[in-house]
């Protein structure tokens, strides 16, 4: 294993992480499930490429600097997500899921028919701009933004929406607005990830952004544990590296992958981190929570008969 190879895996993991972080906000913290985020990645990748590709390779290319591509790709995904949100966010749980699936597939099929981008044959000649340091930098910024957001009233309102939508509403939380905010932020993250992906592969093709890709992102979020940023980071790194490590088995690796997904669902549905954070304050919180639970249990036992025993029940799924 040489450095170039490892670097490649790290870059892919870093790129995946950007969109996984966004999806983590939407799915892990706000409780909305999307099977269409590859669509936002595709929008980011194509719009980003449109900005940076030199006009001499593709007539449509603008030959602008990379950072313009990043901003444009993220913004385009964000704008599209606003309209998708307007249409779908008032739908109930599973229908939102289905709608995002439809959006993702429709985006891919539309791109198949856009001939200036090469249609289904793909678009070569995207400049190689994604470097490991830049990706790591964006990852760090993305994590910080997200962590700040979660530990604020805005983040707490999103979590409240996930926990109990009706109670959130009567607590004065504009549920639609917060769902929309989470969706737009997650789409921008996915769009930016798409730009980096395109400028890493130097070749983009609609089928790279299929439903399988969307599913993969959601699986990473769940694998890491819903409602945990550190879980998403671990999940993105492990699950991007895993298929690569299994590459020795070549054709069997995706079989293992599928089997692993089922295994996680049936055996450890809370994911790696189960809503905990691997930070000093996160660990302290988990400890306090555990202590409080033990105390409550001890007290309930002491008052046995006087108090009802619901404190004895574990934290239900």
């Amino acid at each position: 294993m040489d450095w170039t190879y490892i670097q490649g895996i790290l870059m892919l993991a870093g790129i995946n992480l950007i969109s996984v972080l966004g999806l983590s906000l939407l799915t892990g913290f706000t409780g909305l499930f999307s099977f269409g985020h590859a669509g936002f990645m595709a929008i980011g990748a194509y719009i980003g490429a449109l900005m940076t590709v030199s006009p001499s390779t593709t007539p449509a290319g603008l030959g602008l600097p990379f950072f313009v591509g990043i901003i444009a790709g993220g913004a385009a995904a964000g704008i599209v997500s606003y309209f998708i949100g307007r249409i779908t966010l008032s739908l109930k749980g599973d229908y939102f899921c289905i709608a995002t699936l439809g959006f993702g597939e429709a985006t891919r099929l539309l791109l198949n028919n856009v001939q200036i981008f090469g249609g289904s044959r793909g678009w070569p000649g995207v400049p190689y701009k994604s470097t490991l340091p830049v990706i790591v930098l964006v990852d760090v910024v993305a994590v910080l933004f997200l962590a700040n957001l979660i530990k604020s009233r805005h983040g707490r309102n999103m979590i409240a929406v996930r926990e109990e939508e009706l109670a959130a509403q009567v607590s004065g939380i504009d549920v639609f607005k917060y769902k929309m905010t989470a969706l737009i932020i997650s789409a921008v993250y996915a769009g930016v990830a798409g730009v980096f992906f395109g400028h890493y592969m130097t070749f983009i093709q609609p089928k790279m952004f299929s439903m399988t890709k969307s599913t993969e992102l959601t699986i990473i979020v769940i694998f890491g544990g819903l409602g945990s940023i550190s879980g998403s980071v671990l999940g993105a790194v492990l699950l991007t590296a895993l298929p690569e490590i299994l590459r020795a088995f070549e054709i069997w690796r995706l079989v293992f992958y599928g089997a692993a997904v089922i295994l996680i669902m049936i055996s450890r549905p809370k994911g790696l981190m189960g809503g905990m954070e691997l930070t000093p304050s996160g660990i302290r919180k988990a400890q306090l929570e555990r202590k409080a639970r033990l105390e409550a249990r001890a007290e309930a036992r002491r008052l046995n008969g006087l108090e009802d025993g619901s404190a004895d029940e574990g934290r239900g799924a």
């Binding site: 957001l149 009233r153 509403q169 009567v170 004065g172």
Partner: protein, 257 residues
């Protein structure tokens, strides 16, 4: 005393069925009003209509003199009406403290950009929110349980936490939907005192749905009785208790209860 909440000719139909039919009553400022009636009388439906969870078929709901019909629930909460639920709806996987802290959100103004960049206003207001939540927990005697996940709280405490969460919004009118359901007589009495205390300390008006007659008779100044979506009677507790129509409706109901 001026009325803080005025309900006039309120009607809600589900298909052909009128769950609430032409009901009018009002809650005077600072009062504790009880809403009673047999199961299916339309009590919770009225709460859902006041808080905007259901759309009003016809009639009007005025809060502090202004109609709130057609407003979404979060705007109604913003105006100063909050509620609890019959089947407790806490943020189950959050701790007691987080439940209250979340509901304190309206006391802060900082925006998204200030949040992700942790600008001074964010930090200042966030500190105030933490203080406010801690303060509420200590007033309501939940400080010891602050780090417990809401789901692991004993039942009676869950009900109390729901009230604290509602108070965190600084409401002017608090709607309590069967706050004593599932409580033993001791807890019920404790709750009764608590409701009176809250009204005094937080200077608010209360509308409470309850089946425990002790609680209703002990704490309410005014009672509205519903039956099959219609208003059956209203008045002072002792008058309502002696009203033959009310007695009849309740005798019919006690058998099925």
């Amino acid at each position: 005393m001026a009325a803080i909440l005025e309900i006039s000719n309120l009607t809600k139909r589900f298909g052909g069925l009128a769950a609430v039919n032409d009901v009018s009553f009002s809650v005077p400022e600072g009062a504790i009003v009880g809403l009673i009636g047999p199961n299916g009388a339309g009590k919770t439906t009225i709460f859902n209509l006041i808080t905007g969870v259901y759309s009003v078929t016809s009639g009007d709901v005025k809060f502090q003199g202004q109609s709130i019909v057609g407003l979404p629930p979060f705007k109604i909460a913003d105006r100063g009406i909050t509620r609890t639920f019959q089947n407790i709806r806490l943020f189950k996987n959050l701790t007691v403290f987080e439940n209250v802290l979340t509901a304190c959100h309206m006391s802060a103004q900082y925006n998204l950009a200030e949040t992700i960049l942790r600008l001074p206003r964010f930090r200042k207001e966030e500190k105030l929110l933490y203080e406010k939540a801690e303060n509420l927990l200590s007033i309501m005697g939940l400080t010891e349980r602050r780090d417990l996940v809401a789901n692991n709280l004993p039942y009676g405490m869950q009900r109390r936490l729901e009230i604290v969460r509602a108070l965190a919004l600084d409401p002017k009118l608090l709607l309590l939907d069967e706050p004593a359901a599932g409580m033993n007589p001791d807890e019920t009495e404790h709750l009764m005192n608590l409701i009176g205390q809250i009204r005094k300390d937080f200077k608010l008006s209360v509308l409470v749905i309850e089946h425990h007659m002790d609680l209703i008779m002990g704490v309410c100044e005014h009672i509205v009785v519903l039956n099959f979506g219609l208003k059956l009677a209203e008045g002072r507790p002792e008058d309502v208790a002696n009203n033959p129509k009310v007695v009849e409706a309740y005798l019919g109901a006690t058998e099925e209860a």
